[in-house]
Symmetry: C2
Subunit: 283 residues, 2 copies
């Protein structure tokens, strides 16, 4: 069972951040552990973090700290866009991103997830997804995100990309062509926000993406914020637009948030020394 | 051996962040593992992080990511103080904090460490400490930090507290009386910076300290920054002064830094929603 990350009679689940270090979670129970057509899906329960969703061995979300990531992926775009009505969410089958979007009076959220099994499992174990799918503004589309955007007839005010890591079913969501398609389906003004990985462990990947993103969008801003259960405890995001500057907050955030605030927003866009190269093109 | 955090024939070392989760490091070798009069000292080698110092089972520093913590503990005070000449460092026997202080043209650094064994072990395994101790500006004082400051005849421009957690030999460095003594030994203008623990796992402890610190110092500013190998990947610090506002940078930072920059500085003092209570007394 070593390759599953369990040891000593299924009492522990671990995520490797490199070949030789990572996080471990002692588990009270394994709620779900099966392969879908696309990936390995596991939901385990830890005393401190509650229910944890793993895809292909990597923590996607936990009951206790989900808001760190979901709020920071969603709210920066919603407080800087003048009137976000039509929203596309690609990935994030756990529903945490859509949950945050629905705090705003949007018209329509197209929620594209490749793996129906992720939806079915999360609906059972993460109560917020059930609510999300009951909301009349949400249309769930079970399709590969890359395929969807290639054929899409719609344009969106905000597109949010909550991909899993560039292994498994998400590979195409990490390439230049995908971002060109996103741009072509963006209203004006419009914003794309996409998760960009760990600024500590995956720094080369951030720089690689920055280089191609700046050939596609006029405004390319990376930002980072803490996520306790992600590798090294910090995550990065790209804010992409033709016209919108993410440092100009023009609307109040939704109520009921736990991490995001205008100060958290401002903080996230100030990049420390290792990421300075990611802020060279503020045109 | 379970209580040591090793398993499967000493191939792994782990730090528990709660009773049931934490970080694991597969280890290439155990370089040192003994008890001193005060605590358990261990130095292990991990492929990715290099040499790692544990005190009483908690990661203190690693070769690969030491600069995240050491730079952020030291440089904010040095770029906001008009003329820092006399410096006191309490704790931090690995020497990382003093290493950063010595980048500035200070007159004198009193380096107070309770545990001589930590000094001897780190001198062997962390090359920067050797350099630190060879610098003529540094006086190493092997004494309990609380006792030292109780009897000190000196006053300091900057005092840096790099305590271990409030268990073991550091307990007295986490109480109100200690900070009163620090204030009494501070020059005017003067700054104290102290590590304050994890803003995620130890939030109650941050609030407890904030309450007593604001009865002692006129300026009490908490700040946070990422540290990949500390619990939840982020750490907090308190900036304490009678007169100095940490958001007013008046000097250039030293050269050669890897994380700290004026943007990293500005970022650190912008607190997100869970820590808003820590910024109520900006008088």
């Amino acid at each position: 069972m070593k390759d599953e990350g369990y040891k000593s009679f299924w009492k522990e689940k671990r995520e490797y951040h490199t070949d030789n270090c990572g996080l471990f979670f002692e588990i009270k129970s394994i709620l779900y552990a099966q392969n879908s057509k696309f990936q390995r899906i596991e939901v385990v329960e830890n005393e401190y973090f509650g229910r944890i969703l793993f895809l292909d061995g990597l923590v996607q979300t936990t009951e206790r700290d989900e808001y760190f990531y979901h709020e920071m992926l969603v709210h920066p775009a919603f407080v800087t866009h003048p009137q976000p009505q039509r929203v596309l969410v690609i990935g994030g089958g756990d529903g945490g991103v859509v949950k945050e979007v629905l705090r705003y009076p949007v018209e329509k959220v197209d929620f594209v997830e490749i793996d129906e099994k992720v939806i079915r499992v999360c609906q059972k174990y993460f109560p917020w997804l059930k609510k999300v799918l009951q909301d009349k503004r949400v249309e769930l589309i079970l399709q590969d995100g890359f395929e969807y955007i290639q054929q899409a007839q719609e344009s969106y005010d905000i597109i949010l990309v909550d991909s899993s890591e560039p292994v498994g079913p998400s590979v195409s969501l990490h390439e230049k062509k995908f971002y060109q398609l996103l741009r072509d389906n963006l209203s004006q003004p419009g914003i794309v926000v996409a998760q960009m990985g760990s600024p500590f462990f995956h720094q080369d990947e951030l720089f690689r993406k920055f280089e191609f993103l700046r050939t596609i969008f006029k405004k390319v801003f990376f930002y980072t914020s803490p996520v306790p259960t992600y590798p090294a405890g910090e995550w990065s995001y790209a804010f992409l637009s033709e016209t919108i500057d993410p440092t100009q907050i023009i609307r109040r955030p939704a109520g009921g948030l736990k991490y995001y605030s205008p100060q958290a927003h401002q903080r996230a866009f100030l990049l420390p020394k290792p990421l300075e190269k990611l802020r060279q093109n503020k045109s």
